[in-house]
Amino acid sequence: MIAHLDRKLLRDLKRLRGQAAAVSLVMACGLAMLIMARSLISSLEGTRAEYYQTNHFAEVFASLKRAPNHLADRIRALPGVATVQADLAVPVTLDLPGLDEPASGIVRSLPDFGEPELNRLFLRRGRWLSPGSRGEVLVGEAFAKANALNPGDTLTMLLNGRRQTFHLAGIVLSPEYIFESRPGAALPDNRTYGIFWMPYKEVATAWDLYGAFNHLAITLAPGAGERPVIAGVDRLLRPYGGLGAFGRKDHPSHIRVTDEIRVLTILSIGFPIVFLSVAAFMTNAVLTRLLSLQREQIAILKAFGFTNRQIVVHYLKFAFVMVLAGLGLGLLGGVALGQNLVVMYELFFKFPDLRFRLDGPAVAIALGVGLGTVTLGVLDAVRRAARLPPAEAMRPEPPANFRPSLIERTGIARLLSHSFRIAIRNLERRPAQALFTVAGLALATALLILPNSFKAGISEVLDFQWDVVQRQDVNLGLVEPSSARLAHELARLPGVTSLEPSRSAAVRVHFQGRSRQIGLRSLLPGGRHSRAVDRAGREISPPPHGVILSSKLADVLGAKIGDTLVLEALEGRRPFANVPLTALAEDFTGIAAYMDLHAINRFLGEGDVITGASLTLDLSRRAEFLAALKEIPRVSTVAIKETMRQAFRETTAQSMGVIQSIYLTFAVIVAFGVIYNNARISLAERARELATLRVVGMTQHEVGAVLVTELVILALLAVPLGLLMGTGLTTFIIGSVNTETIRLPLVFTTYTYAFAVVVVLIASTLSAFVVLRKLKHLDLIAALKAPE
């Protein structure tokens, strides 16, 4: 049996369903974002933690040139070390049918017998390698999927220059490669880069590494610190070409998932705050209106003995029903969004089983936050209404007090039409309502700036990376440093129109106690392929002595132009050098240091050596070039610009599509909802006034114009504000997701702004139109009978 007061509540809700729905929808946007983000965080964190635990993901990692297997025992003996797994990681190129360019990747070794102790694989399809087998390989899922490989297929691989054919036994996942991508790449290119696993014996034989290892994975003893272990490992590996050990937090694949969790955390706080504030205000506006309409009803309830408390609760319930509806919608929306985003994550992150798990506490938080915000928004108004003495409440509200608006007091009153005056005086009389409508519309506008700006930023990164910085068509990497004479051989390949040699080396840059392990890349004086460019887009010519740093790296180190840095080579004879920082390069992916090719060679003291080359091609001879390239065994990696660009475009288009539609939906809901509620409330509050205008002979359009003028004024205030807010919000969000792995430039185009303005105006116009249609049903006679 429903109490009679609750029955009244239901009927009031039914009457105000349009406005209640608008409030619930806006609230639902915030709660959906909260539920989605919190759930995704718990899905990602939970799935990752389980994956790491089940598959024994290591805690410390190190790469080195080569060390005898018995060194692993000395590392095992270091205090704080629990498990040590020594294995091999070597570069490989592949010749795939149907792919005219060579793919490349890494081959990792597995114990010849038995499972590895650490970083165990997860078998997705097919079978494990047969014990003691030869000629079998396991392939990472991302690469297998991108190239439609199945267990039983054969793969032709160039291992240390020797072409061999392998049988694909199974398709696997590894906790080391949740983010399976070329080192330093911002986005995966799974078609041309893959990870492979073979028995130790096979890899070691091909690379003459038998009895040695070049990669280490370590777990820590309970309670042991990571730092001393890393220091100990580095000390032991130094004579063997150790490239510096690092912990999980610096593991490239781990970092990518952590970065995503960080972005989700920002979303899970920022968005709900903004949406719920708007929703709380909308609730306040709807309820204030209801309270003034029901002034006499409240008086009667009180006259018959209902307590203030009962009345407060009655009206709070009204708000709570909207919260519950918002939560229901938000829950549905959050789950739908989350499931969509999980599909998107599958493009980037390879987990055995990443599923959207609805986070129970997130729903509870959403409920609490929703109820809390609307209570804050309406409690005061409800309490004031309930406290009114019945005798006073029985009388109609005193007539609204108006005065000439600020604008009119500036002396331009004569220029204003009557409907304009009505509009601005109404706005000035209810500044809070106007302010929040403006805020809501501005929010909608701002929301639309972000995704387009992201998209423009990504497109700029791609153009910058491949049209400004790297103007070559192909990058080649060599199996190991080779004599510069190899360059001449490569230059003679069919279709090559120009070639520039390159040299890269792993180094550690030190400055005043801070250091970073990075790739040192070569630049050629007067080179036309790889270049370094400063913030203003000017080419930086490599100094004969001195180093150029990514400006992000300089930031991280706290170094300025003119400071002296210490470069520590992590390969060869591991020399040290003091070099001045001569310029800062603007780059968006990864962090790097650049030096003159000859300066690098002088520094490393290995003579005139190259590790790769960049080429431009006569595109009509591309196929011929690629066929010839496959015959050169010393080439380990091939990166073709157009292929990578295409892959990036596809991946970003897919993920940006999802994100854009989310933001678009939210923006439209907010713009529509805010305008709808504002117009409905104006219409209800001023039904008598508007009906009077109709009675004295104004047409429906003329009366509509009075309402529309108000909305237009609000929109004119809100849209520029929204563009400003959107610019700020985008600057903040892009700034906060910028990392050492990827940085997006801030790009605001006319299109981005115009799109936001047009969408918000269309949504607002439609919304206003829906309300204005109600002017038709304005009851002219009833409005004349009595004041409310």
């Binding site: 007090n401 009557h418 006034e689 004295v696 002979g697 047409t699 009978k785």
Partner: protein, 259 residues
């Protein structure tokens, strides 16, 4: 004729005006025959007008008397083009209001009708001058808002907002708003219903003067029988039809009325 033309009101002290003989007026402004209005349907159907026959002439001041629920407001709404009758004939001059469309009715109200309501219905966000100005903006040959407000004695209160005016003053603004467009018809629904006697008389004086000086057919509906004395013609209304009507030999001055 010894009197000065009516538009020099200050030189003409108001005096009891003889009722004009109907024959002098020619065709009626309103021609009403068998006017019927039903509200609702089926069991809940209510008959508000039950076949009204009536002719109303230019310049007349007609008081429509009747108890509440007698249908007089319904009749006024039909005359004012706020509503459409269920059956019967309703003609305003050459226009058939019975079959007028929504936009024709709007145009009719805009050009020909001035309304005065019991609860004034002013726009709270506009001053007295602006409330009148709002209407003169859309009228064809309006008088200046200041002149209309002067006619109702509100010249000193031009720039006051409704909330700053007394009830009587608000009603006089409403009258100024109604007459500023020089309407052919002035329809007043209980114009003094919300006012005390003294204020009510000031309002009636304003109406009487507007009728006299502008020559608009003025229909005042009321349940206050005292007001019958100021009319040219008094129509008694009951149960949705005309019960009786009579003509006053002279119109009493509003100032002489007491209730």
């Amino acid at each position: 004729m010894s009197r000065l033309p009516a538009h020099f009101p200050l030189l003409n002290p108001p005096s009891p005006t003889p009722s004009n003989p109907p024959a002098a007026r020619g065709a009626p402004v309103f021609h009403v025959r068998g006017l019927t209005k039903f509200y609702g349907e089926g069991a809940t159907q209510v008959r508000a007008l039950a076949g009204v026959d009536l002719d109303l002439h230019a310049g007349e001041l007609v008081v429509l008397l009747g108890p509440s629920g007698s249908g007089k407001t319904t009749l006024l709404n039909q005359l004012g083009g706020l509503d459409i009758p269920t059956a019967g004939t309703l003609r305003y001059r050459d226009t058939d209001l019975t079959h007028a469309t929504e936009s024709e009715l709007t145009l009719y109200r805009r050009e020909s009708v001035g309304f005065v309501f019991q609860f004034y219905n002013l726009i709270p966000s506009l001053t007295a001058r602006e409330n009148v100005g709002l209407i003169t903006e859309i009228a064809d040959h309006p008088m200046p808002a200041e002149e209309a407000l002067g006619m109702v004695g509100l010249s000193p209160r031009l720039d006051h907002f409704p909330a700053q005016l007394s009830g009587g003053e608000q009603q006089r603004v409403a009258i100024a708003r109604a007459i500023a467009k020089r309407p052919a018809v002035l329809l007043c629904d209980e114009p003094t219903g919300a006012l005390d006697v003294h204020t009510g008389i000031v309002v009636l004086e304003a109406l009487e003067r507007a009728n006299r000086e502008l020559g608009a057919l003025t229909v005042i509906i009321t349940h206050n029988a005292v007001m019958a004395d100021m009319a040219d013609r008094v129509i008694h209304f009951s149960d949705g039809r005309v019960l009786s009507e009579h003509r006053n030999a002279t119109r009493a001055l509003p100032a002489t009325l007491r209730w």
